[in-house]
Subunit: 330 residues, 2 copies
Amino acid sequence: MLDSHRRITITEFAEILGTSTATVSRAFSDKGRISSKTRQRILQKAAELGYRPNIHARNLTARHSDTIALFYPELRGEEPDYFLSEIMLGINRNLIPLKKTLQIHPFERNAIPDEMGRYIDLLLNGSFAGIIVLGETVGSKTLVNAARHNGIPCIGIGPAPAPPTNSLWFDNEAGAFLAGKYYRDTGRRHPVYIAGFADATKENGFREGYAGKVNILEGGHSFRHGALAYERLVREFPETDCVLCANDVLAIGFMKAAFDNGRRIPADLAVIGYDDIHPARYVNPALSSVTLNLYDLGVKSVQMLGQLLFGEKEVPSESIQCDLILRQSS
Amino acid sequence: MLDSHRRITITEFAEILGTSTATVSRAFSDKGRISSKTRQRILQKAAELGYRPNIHARNLTARHSDTIALFYPELRGEEPDYFLSEIMLGINRNLIPLKKTLQIHPFERNAIPDEMGRYIDLLLNGSFAGIIVLGETVGSKTLVNAARHNGIPCIGIGPAPAPPTNSLWFDNEAGAFLAGKYYRDTGRRHPVYIAGFADATKENGFREGYAGKVNILEGGHSFRHGALAYERLVREFPETDCVLCANDVLAIGFMKAAFDNGRRIPADLAVIGYDDIHPARYVNPALSSVTLNLYDLGVKSVQMLGQLLFGEKEVPSESIQCDLILRQSS
DNA sequence: TTGTAGGCGTTATCAG
DNA sequence: CTGATAACGCCTACAA
C-alpha cells in the first residue's frame, strides 16, 4: 500500500535516463554546469515519471531547510489574535519571492526561559532557514538570544528598547504620548488608561502626553476584557471623559459596552485604541487609534530577514513610525 | 564561523559516551528496548553537551516530517482573513498534543489545476505528516485529490457537497435558509442577498428560506466591499428592508456605511452576516450571523487528521451545524 | 540490552 | 559538461 505511493528516487531515475545522479541533481539545482539540452530532457522526463527531489535528503545535505518560522507569544483567550493576523499577512505576502515557507509557533506568553526548551530545540535542530520573533516577553528574548548564539538568521519585532541590529521596533511611549497630547489639546479633563499586558511604556507616554494625572484600569487583550473594563470604569471613575486603550480589541469591546450603555462617543467619552487593526475603521463609531502599521511591520521584517538569508552578518535595526489616526471616536 | 555553530552529531556524541550510535538513537526514540539507566545517562549528557538529533536526517529515514500543512485560498485584499484566523486558532490549539508543527500555505484563490504545481510539489516531496485543505475552490480540490492519490493524510474543510470520507463540511444552503426564513417570519418585505464569492448555495438557501423573491447584489470579501455594497443598495434597491451578507466582514462594512448614512438598524434595515467571526458581537449594533462554529471546525479537523495520522485509512466525513445567532442587527 | 552495518535520497568534490 | 563516490546524520534490522 504505502509502497504503491513510493516515489522514484534519484538513483532509479538516473538509471532510467541512462545518466548519473549527479547530472540529475544539477538539472534541478540551478547551479553546477549542465547543458541546457540535458537539463531540458531531464526536467521533462521527470515530469513524465513524476520524479521530484526528496526535500529531506536535500535538507540533510544542505544543513538547513527552506522554512522560516514565526514565533509569537500566544494570546490565551478564545479569540484570534488580530494584531498577529495583520503582521502575518505582511509576512506571508512577501515570502513567496524568497521561496520560503512559513511555520507558525505560538508559545506561552508567560513562559520562563526554562519552559522554552521545546522551541529552542526546534531552533537548534537546524530546521529553519531563519526566524522572526514577535513580542517583548521573556520567551521572545530567550528565542532571540538562542538564535544569535547559534548563528541562526533572526529578526525580532517588538517595542523599544531594541538591540542595534536585527530588530524592528516601534516606540509605544511615543505612540501613547500622541494620544495623551491630543486629549490635552482637545480639552478633556479626566483621562483613563486601560492597560493590556504589563507595559509601563504606554502608560507613561500617555501620562506625559497629557501632562497631568491619568487614572489606570486593568484591561487585557480581548473584546470581553474591554467590555468589562467599561463596567469598572463606570463604577470607579465615572467622571472619565476620555480613554486610551492598550489595544484596539480592548477599545472595541469597551466602546461596545459604552454604546449599549447609552454613552455618546465621543461627545461624553472619547476613546482611542492602539495598533490600528483593520476592524477599527468599521466599528461604530469608527475607532481612533495609534497605528503601528502592522502590515508594513510584517513586510519589512521579511525584507530584513531576506538580507540575513542572503548572507549579511547582520542588518541595522529599523523602526516603524507610530501615528495617531483620528476617526470618529475621539 | 559557521563551523563554530556546528552541532555535535550522533557519532561524535556516541563516541564520547563510549556507546554506539544505536543506543543513543534508542534513548531519543521512545521505542526500541533500552535500560532506563542508560537512557537517563544519555539524555543527561546530551543536555550537557548540547546534542540534539538532527531533524532532517530523522525525516529522511522516517520518510516524513512532523509538520502538518494548512492550505487555503488566499484573500487577495489588504485585510487579514478573519474566517481563516478563527479556524487556525482551533487548529493551533490542538496541534500541540500531536507534537506536530503547523505550516501555512495560502494559494491563489482562482488558481487552475495547472497553477497548483508549486503546492503539489510541496505535497509530494514527502514534507508533511498530513495536511488540511480549506475551501471549495478548484485549487483546493486539486490538492485534496493529489493527497488522496499519494496516500497523504488529508482532511478537507468546506461547504457541502463533500466526499463521504476525510472531510469536514457545513451546509451553507441550510444556513442561509435560516436567515431567509427569519426574515419571512419577522415580516420583512424586501430582502437582498449580498454575495461573496460565486456561491449559488447561500443565495438559493436564502431564497428558499424566504420563500419569495430576493434581489442580489455583488459583494466581495472585505469591509470595503461591504460599504460599497451599501451604496449600491441605496441606488438600486432603495426599498430594501433586510439583507443577508455572504460573510461577516461584508456585513460589518455594510452596516458601517448604513449607520453613517443614518439608517436605523434593524428598524429600517435588518442585516444578518455569515460565519460569526468574533468581532460580529462587538460592532454596533451587534451583528446577527449564521455561525459556522469556526473554532470548532479547526479543532475537529485536527482530531480527524489525528486519526489518519494514527493509522486509520480514512475517517467518515463529519458536518458542523449551522445556527442563526440573533443579536441586535436583525 | 547493546553493538554493527547498511540504507535513507541528495549534494559536493574531484576526476575525466 | 558529465560521472563516480564520499559525505550528510540518523534509524533499524540483525547479530551478539
